[in-house]
Subunit: 74 residues, 2 copies
């Protein structure tokens, strides 16, 4: 069964964000599937995920995005 | 002088991405402005940056984005 579509964004304090980053780094380094809680849902991240960084600048704003992407397997 | 608009994305290996995440976590924790190199440009991130995590699911793909955003000051 596939899960519902979702697009949710949650702001975190510096301390919370730092903790999430370190947890993510540890999990990726372990080289296994892992889970991460984001805005009330536990997300399952497979070890086949791809990692990229995006940098956008425009309209008076600048943004860095540390992206973790994967295909959903049927 | 304002810098040019930009939208660039670069894929990293697991090891590179983990190193970038840890560097980012350390820099945010230090509570000061910092710089990070992304796809050949050194990005200056002010300590007023906001931190959020976005989760998207749809079209057979799933994505987590760890976002660092800030307004460009004139």
């Amino acid at each position: 069964m596939s899960k519902e579509n979702r697009d949710i964004e949650k702001e975190y304090t510096n301390e919370q964000f730092v903790a999430k980053l370190r947890r993510l780094a540890d999990d990726i380094e372990a080289g296994e599937n892992f889970e991460i809680q984001v805005a009330g849902e536990r997300i399952y991240v497979p070890d086949r995920a791809k990692y990229s960084i995006e940098h956008e600048r425009g309209d008076g704003e600048e943004e860095l995005e540390f992206q973790v992407k994967w295909k959903i397997e049927g």
